[in-house]
Symmetry: D2
Subunit: 293 residues, 4 copies
Amino acid sequence: MKVGFIGLGRMGQGMAGRVLGAGHDLVVYNRTRAKAAELEKAGARFVATIAAACADREVVITMLADDTALAAVTGGDGGVLAALAKGSIHVVMGTHGVDIIRSLTHGHASAGQVLIAAPVFGRPDVAAAGQLGIAPAGPARAVEQCQPLFEAIGRRVFDAGSEPAGATAVKLANNFVMGCAIEAMGEAFALIRKYGVPPSALYEVLTEGSFSAPAYKIYGKLIADQSYERPGFTANLGLKDANLVMAAANAALVPLPSASVYRDRLLGAIARGNGERDWAVIALEQARASGLD
Amino acid sequence: MKVGFIGLGRMGQGMAGRVLGAGHDLVVYNRTRAKAAELEKAGARFVATIAAACADREVVITMLADDTALAAVTGGDGGVLAALAKGSIHVVMGTHGVDIIRSLTHGHASAGQVLIAAPVFGRPDVAAAGQLGIAPAGPARAVEQCQPLFEAIGRRVFDAGSEPAGATAVKLANNFVMGCAIEAMGEAFALIRKYGVPPSALYEVLTEGSFSAPAYKIYGKLIADQSYERPGFTANLGLKDANLVMAAANAALVPLPSASVYRDRLLGAIARGNGERDWAVIALEQARASGLD
Amino acid sequence: MKVGFIGLGRMGQGMAGRVLGAGHDLVVYNRTRAKAAELEKAGARFVATIAAACADREVVITMLADDTALAAVTGGDGGVLAALAKGSIHVVMGTHGVDIIRSLTHGHASAGQVLIAAPVFGRPDVAAAGQLGIAPAGPARAVEQCQPLFEAIGRRVFDAGSEPAGATAVKLANNFVMGCAIEAMGEAFALIRKYGVPPSALYEVLTEGSFSAPAYKIYGKLIADQSYERPGFTANLGLKDANLVMAAANAALVPLPSASVYRDRLLGAIARGNGERDWAVIALEQARASGLD
Amino acid sequence: MKVGFIGLGRMGQGMAGRVLGAGHDLVVYNRTRAKAAELEKAGARFVATIAAACADREVVITMLADDTALAAVTGGDGGVLAALAKGSIHVVMGTHGVDIIRSLTHGHASAGQVLIAAPVFGRPDVAAAGQLGIAPAGPARAVEQCQPLFEAIGRRVFDAGSEPAGATAVKLANNFVMGCAIEAMGEAFALIRKYGVPPSALYEVLTEGSFSAPAYKIYGKLIADQSYERPGFTANLGLKDANLVMAAANAALVPLPSASVYRDRLLGAIARGNGERDWAVIALEQARASGLD
């Protein structure tokens, strides 16, 4: 398939590498070419403009950091909306808000193009290993057409329906459930510390019991060890996502009281200068609120 | 070991059966003898009073439904405190509040006896299969002495330290983390339903991803299916536990904002007549609060 | 009227003084006689036992600090329940929980006596000036009978119905609304401080506008000035009341999310050693959670 | 003073009338001329474009419904930024978000103009009577220059400092404190209703005691009477403001847990079709969450 790939951060590099490895014709674009070096060696063609990454492509994938970047890449004279051929597909794989996804859905439809939102689940190492989860939503025929790409990129494809904003909601919901789990652990660990119990005891009870899953193993360990210095995902990014899920919930008139709880802890953590630590640092805020300094 | 066992509910029967199966000398007591039938067939001796279940026993285990039952069994003329021999051990394995555990810790110490709190993790079928987790806390020597019993009853023993109330806190913390996970799913499923996404999609994303653990598989399924009629654990019991963890947190001066969130949903659910449904019914409250009736 | 008065703290002294001043026959009891000195000078008769404060009295008023004190004074051989004559009335004027009020309602009824709950609104100086608000609830005839006492003690009598626990709920609700107002100001002042606005500006906007009431004038001033050292009501007492209102709400199956918010701040404040400061110190917790240290 | 006035809703008409009444030279603009009829009769000059409302004016006042309207009026070729003379002052008196105020602050500065944010406190009838509160913030000299206008429009001017966004924060904080008061009453009234107490009893206790202020008198009455049909301020507008204050708090890294509580109730109320009722309808949501349907 003729594929364009825009956005070669750590996630994007791994994902584009999987597309290339599956034998597709891959053109890549990134603001700084250096990040494309590995892919170029492996056979990808680097282009200097977004428009060139769209020209004659059946599918263009974007994997961008935030809504601002997505707006910049898609809009304007040389943007994806202007450059993509009629009938071609734009697959948005980054984590974005429902507003911009809805706006792009309409924009592409007006231009005779198709939008699929296909957010991914997993970290960069998982992406490089082709083990991501992918939840695409969009017109059924287009999703089917992209199936080979999704299978190349990920381990498991979850059908999120025909409405792109729905896939966005699923992704934001997943991250929200994660934030709640971290917050719950932050509170739980503060509680048992106050009772003189070693954090490792609760960590083992949880992760060898009903919570034997990556979310609890990874973040429970950080909290039990009070180790927030090597972030897998920063508090600042956590706040960005919390705001996105609350905006999505606002638009759909859904109260999310649990989101408010961990978002408040994130605000506190960032206000105290911990924005670039791992977002599990909300457990430190909780500890402070419990007098455990 | 000479063991007394008081409290033959569904959990207690399974646990007592494991003690008996490991070859210990077992005396059992329950208010209604019928529940001891299986155990008597298997060789346990039924006694008609609490005092008789304590006399000449090295260890007496209680597995009771709530603090009221524990207070009734331990206090008064024929209660455990009065009947247990000096040097003997009372192992409290039910889920209780920190107040009563602290009070019993002092009571047993004054009487020259020893208290261990050893709450268990798992449901009745898990108990019958000897697969419970157990988190004992108490004087090290006594805990060591009971180790064969814990190994007979459970799959895994977690050291919760030397303070019985600490084990209580661990158990309450575990149930609290569970309540938070259910609440988070209730909110998340309401959100994606509002975006037209089938609940099964989010269920799969969660349970095949970062949340591949029993808590999410069991309760996520109930919520996705909106099936609350066959309770594993009722909303009323959930509220009891929520109040216990908030009382424990209050005593230790720990704010638990996430507990307030799901406790509020439980209150709403019970107020609407859903107290005897599965406590995952808080997701129905969330759905209603989102206009999804 | 023949009146007994039990509990001569700062509130009780003022209230008993009003009863005496209105010409009633007053017997007073307090654990430490010293606090009765002024009243004795003014003509009250001090007695050495609770029973003596109940004997031959038409009405016995209790004004006690908490549920423990009320339980101690009412129960046991020489307690109010045992000593009060049939047909006599016990007027509980302290702030208590609904559980103990319901229990006393039944206890007095069984003993052929009558319970009225008549909580008061105002501080000691207000009590001494006879300017309290009073919200009595109980059997209509008994409430009518006590009307002269209420009019002696307070400025305004609010009819809270025929169920004593209802009056309790009104009192707890009032204090809850106060806690919410303080919390809201704590959050609002943190916000405007972050925008470089002098706290006095918000204080004036509020108290010269929609919030021109004592709650905002008194507590808004403390918060604007960050002055918590001379408590009118301590954080520890605030927590006691917060727990009472949440227990009342729990019993009635009413979620009180706003109570959880300020209760969490109180727990944090007390955990940091501010339990004996004015409960407006929750604004300091809020400021800290906002990075304003 | 030569004044332009843009935005003749119910508030704007009253405010412009006060400016005119104080003898200033007033030009008015509104999308629909009909709303200017009264003012024109009284001597104001209606102009057909925003640019004409800015030309040769020392001060232009905008009183607009939301950020979208403000952006539309200020931006573009014929907008306020383009049309206002160097040195002239734009006084924003509507309730807006901090982002747009900050953006306008910079925009006007770049254009050699001055921005003052001067939000007002009070409803249309208060505006017509010249009894509004006004909290201006901006460069001291400009604020001083506008003082005669503020005195014409309002009863009381509160100095909110030199940073326009600060005045915005004060206005949003005031409305936030209002939302919290309404929410607290909603919860409190649900509680006492469950105890069988007539709502009027709590209403009187509050408004004749510590809460004898308009916020409680107005909204307490609506809640006690369960009367939400004639909105002074709708739930939809309440949500708009709640989102503005949360955005302001997010930008300043201030957690506002109380805002989340009443915002969640607003979302529920709107989700159930009550968006155009008075925002006190959140008390109905609370009642429902308490099983009081």
